[in-house]
Symmetry: C2
Subunit: 616 residues, 2 copies
């Protein structure tokens, strides 16, 4: 029996956001993206949509139930993941964002994230294997020596080999600087690696003959902390100079985690050099040949930034399909009477007719579409930067993109969990069972706020680093763009309340920035840190309100040209309704949480430790 | 190897709330509770704490992994559940709340919920079997004929037999009135039952030889809808007049659900009368002998009200142990440097030293203790009512209790999911694995907002029924009690901001009540319903802020008598900090959501259906 695909995506909404709001076609006007046309992009989206819905989607439940197994020969992943892996590379999806110089199509990331939203949303666990492999390959392209690129990168890009990022140790989670994994020079340019690492997504599997690990380790004598860490390339199987596989490289998978979700993604514990035979290579080669040891974290962060946006996209993918599944259920499940119109001829109305269900659907729609706008807006900054030569304008776009990374990672991942939970609620008891995908969406999504830097770390990255980068230039532009929209809305009948709330948002936002600055100058970083998470979410919600309202104005213009009751008319009215709902229902509590920050309550810092509880 | 108990409870905090804040001993001053003393109660709590922590706790993870199995002989539950079942009844815990006339101890429910919080929190799935059995027995006591009570109730109360409540059918979930299960008079006082029911917790199991089902069914010719439903007593095995077991009663378990959580609790689908041989008895006997058919829902609601408070207590139990486990982890897990004090001598500080972790802990503590206060306050109203003769004062207390039922069920259950999720986040990646209990708490808790009336149904019960009961007398008292506290706080130095926020809360709350009334009079019930859920949570949060602040004032007085740094001193400072945190951090966004209700946005009602998405 063929499995059912629960995967749902809304191509119409994605196309609106890509083409009408974020004008993807403008990116095709100049290098490096001028080999694409709008027509190409629409066709790619359609094919990705088909692949996600028809090919990947049916595997989600089954591969989750099967999970991964650690055998004496290593980790076995479900057969369906093997099939998908093969078809993904056969169909050339790996080439989409790969640069033309590496044999790829070099698509803008704005197009890439739209494709990834669908593929990842259809089976998150499956997509992690290839997403992380391609991300690792990109780091190798960026920092590897010509030899390393030649020997490893191509095979990691075409699916012959897998790739991973390896940071965490049992005693070194968010605090990577505590890592103990050691690298001892062999004297021939290579290093002997020894140490144990955990929580490595795709750390072992049987999808490929070899896996290339990018591993943070400390060269003997290097300083403590993160600045003493170097990034090593460590293949699972050694690779001969001609690219053929040699002997095993003494990398052992000792354990895979039993997790709440993403069961089909193997989360491995690896021991490097159990028998003293694990050879690693400094990424970028030996110090004397141009590489720089001790810059491991910097290199890892190039990967990490991409992966953090990747988590935001995963989150969006799950949130969107969770919403659309709940919507489909609400349209067909008959229960109860409409409040004023009665039961109708079927004896009960579809539950979408009930106010409270509509509220949940509207909340999910506004959040999902808002998160999509947030991510698309952010990666468009990245793409626009890549269209420019080095210089001030490009640097500003890069800074703006950097500012959005923690917002996107932390806010969208938290929202994915919320939306998945709300979607489950729409089903009632049925949602708690394995008969519907809602429970898996909740389980799968719950890792997003944790991995690739917990959301608390993202919040500290935002308030401790990103806000003050270049004397706060990026956050200054953020505020100005908000003011600009307030002005535009002020001249638009029917948006008075939205303009007023956004104006208040700008004022409170600036007041918090000032307070943070004052607190920092007075050594009150603990207080700033206490407000970091609420501030991050409020800032993301302000950004989203702005982007949804900008989308609503575009939709208003488009609506004027079509019949209100037509398909297009309903669509545009939906965009307008979502923006209004967000500005009128979600933004005000966000502003209230800025008021809370401004009030500066420190109970959580002042409480004596025993006050949390005397029970130990 | 003996399994570890992850269960944690805070007896000190429970005793403060029970004895210092809610003056449990006052209830022991008069019948029906005057057989108890404070000393008894403290001993019972201590024993319950021990039983939960040492006996029940170690079974939680194991019974979850084993789950239930449907075999040709019926449902098998894990062996550990059998052992617990036996020990629970052997130790006489079933007698605690049972009336003295039924051979029980007749404890006030305020003591009962404290005991249940611990027992249920230690293994939710286990506790459901006995909790529902005892609740079903109570309905039988209330509405059964003397014969029915004689034959069934005692055995359901002493654990010889199980009991269930059976409402849901595939096409009749929240809309119970759509039930199709039929009852045909046999002419001898019994009925032939035929129909299929789903989602029956403990609907089949091998803990007891017999299970007594209380089933909603429609007598042939009875009207459509809920008013046509009668409540039937249907044993799994027929019971002879002498109490011995007879032949099978044609009740078949056809399926058990594969669920997100509470795996050790069998959720059964039952078919009644597959072979035309299922006999049921009208609860309370034949109409001609005093019973009233068509009052099934009213009788079921007596059980339902108790069970809804039960869900609140389950929710509290999970939330509390989730918080305390996260707290214990945060106290021992070493990661990172303190913002101003550095890394300390261990090279890293316990993560409780980090502001963002402290924020999460404080949030959980304030919510957990607030939810405990909400439930204890509510059931104390019930107990006080039982101490009075019929009359106005008693009726008022009963109405007040009724008002709190939807608040407690919906708010505490939603908070349990939130707290479980926050607790998981404190662990980082470890929380996502089965090595810690956080992921199970999240899975188990996610059913609480759904069963025994979804939280959307609770919100409609609140705004559509409870607010207007007796011309709004209960909600009027709610408002007055709030004003009283505002006045008290006004005279207390250091609580100016709390007093101001509470005063604003009272004003906004009253404004919303007026708006609801106006909208209802104008036929705008759809709009009232749209605001029902946000209003419910805001009202619960206002109630909690009030109760926590009242607790803080008690703690202030107690603190004045002890050394601030002593254990007691730290405890009281913790109570004060939690109340302040709640009033300053959680209450303001709740008020903002009342502002949102007052602003009356109707985007969610106005959006055309296609506007939710054109993807079907």
């Amino acid at each position: 029996m063929a499995a059912v695909s629960f995967y749902k995506s809304d191509l119409k909404e994605m196309e609106f956001t890509l083409f009408e709001q974020f004008r993807l076609a403008e990116l095709f006007a100049a290098p490096p993206y001028d080999q694409f046309s709008e027509e190409d992009a629409r066709m790619i989206l359609k094919e990705a949509h088909h692949f996600a819905q028809e090919v990947i989607g049916p595997t989600m439940g089954e591969t989750d139930r099967q999970g991964c197994e650690l055998t004496p020969e290593g980790v076995k992943v479900p057969q369906a993941i093997h099939d998908l892996w093969r078809r993904f590379y056969e169909n050339g999806w790996n080439a989409l964002e790969l640069s033309e110089s590496a044999g790829g199509q070099g698509a803008p990331r704005l197009l890439g994230v739209a494709v990834t939203e669908m593929m990842s949303g259809a089976n998150t666990a499956f997509h992690m294997y290839l997403g992380l492999s391609l991300a690792a390959a990109a780091v190798l392209r960026a920092f590897g020596t010509p030899d390393q690129r030649e020997l490893y990168a191509g095979k990691m890009e075409d699916g012959t080999w897998g790739g991973t990022m390896v940071l965490t140790e049992p005693q070194a989670g968010s605090d990577v600087g505590l890592s103990l994994t050691k690298a001892t020079p062999n004297g021939n340019g290579s290093y002997l690696i020894s140490g144990s690492k955990i929580f490595i997504s795709g750390g072992d599997h049987d999808l490929t003959e070899n896996i290339v690990h990018l591993v943070l380790a400390r060269i003997e004598g290097a300083p403590k902390g993160t600045r003493g860490l170097s990034l090593f390339l460590i293949p699972k199987i050694r690779v001969n100079a001609d690219g053929s596989l040699g002997e095993s490289n003494d990398v052992t998978c000792t354990h895979i985690e039993h997790k709440l979700g993403i069961h089909a993604s193997a989360t491995a514990a690896l021991t490097f050099g159990e028998n003293g035979k694990c050879v690693g290579y400094l990424l970028g080669g030996e110090p004397t040949r141009g590489g720089t040891p001790g810059e491991g974290m910097r290199k890892m962060f190039v990967m990490m930034n991409g992966v953090r946006i990747g988590v935001a996209v995963q989150s969006l993918g799950v949130a969107s399909t969770a919403y659309l599944n709940a919507l489909a259920y609400a349209r067909t499940r008959l229960q109860g009477a409409h409040m004023t119109k009665g039961r109708g001829e079927k004896g009960a109305v579809p539950i979408i007719e009930h106010s409270d269900v509509r509220r949940m659907l509207m909340e999910m729609k506004a959040i999902v579409e808002g998160c999509r706008a947030l991510i698309f807006h952010a990666v468009r900054l990245h793409d626009r930067a890549r269209m420019l030569a080095e210089g001030e304008e490009r640097a500003a776009l890069e800074d703006d993109f950097d500012l959005y990374i923690p917002l996107a990672k932390a806010h969208v991942s938290d929202m994915a969990v919320n939306v998945a939970s709300t979607a489950l609620q729409v089903y009632g008891g049925a949602g708690y069972t394995g008969d519907y995908p809602a429970e898996q969406y909740l389980r799968d999504s719950r890792i997003f706020p944790i991995y690739e830097g917990t959301n608390g770390i993202q919040a500290m990255d935002l308030v401790g680093r990103k806000l003050s980068q270049n004397q706060g230039a990026a956050v200054g532009r953020f505020g100005k763009e908000l003011q600009q929209l307030v002005k535009t809305l002020g001249g638009r009948a029917g948006y008075e309340s939205e303009a007023a709330t956004l104006a208040a948002a700008g004022d409170k936002f600036n007041a918090v920035l000032e307070q943070f600055l004052e607190q920092s100058l007075k050594g009150g970083m603990e207080q700033v840190a206490l407000s970091a998470t609420p501030f991050l979410h409020a800032m993301a919600q302000i950004a989203i309100a702005r982007l949804l309202l900008e989308g609503a104005l575009i939709a208003e213009d488009a609506l004027a040209k079509v019949d209100e009751g037509s398909q297009d008319g309903q669509f545009y009215r939906g965009k307008i309704a979502a923006a209004r709902y967000y500005a009128r229902n979600i933004l005000p509590p966000a502003l209230s949480s800025l008021d809370v920050v401004l009030a500066g309550d420190t109970s959580a810092l002042d409480i004596p430790e025993g006050g949390f509880s005397l029970a130990y």
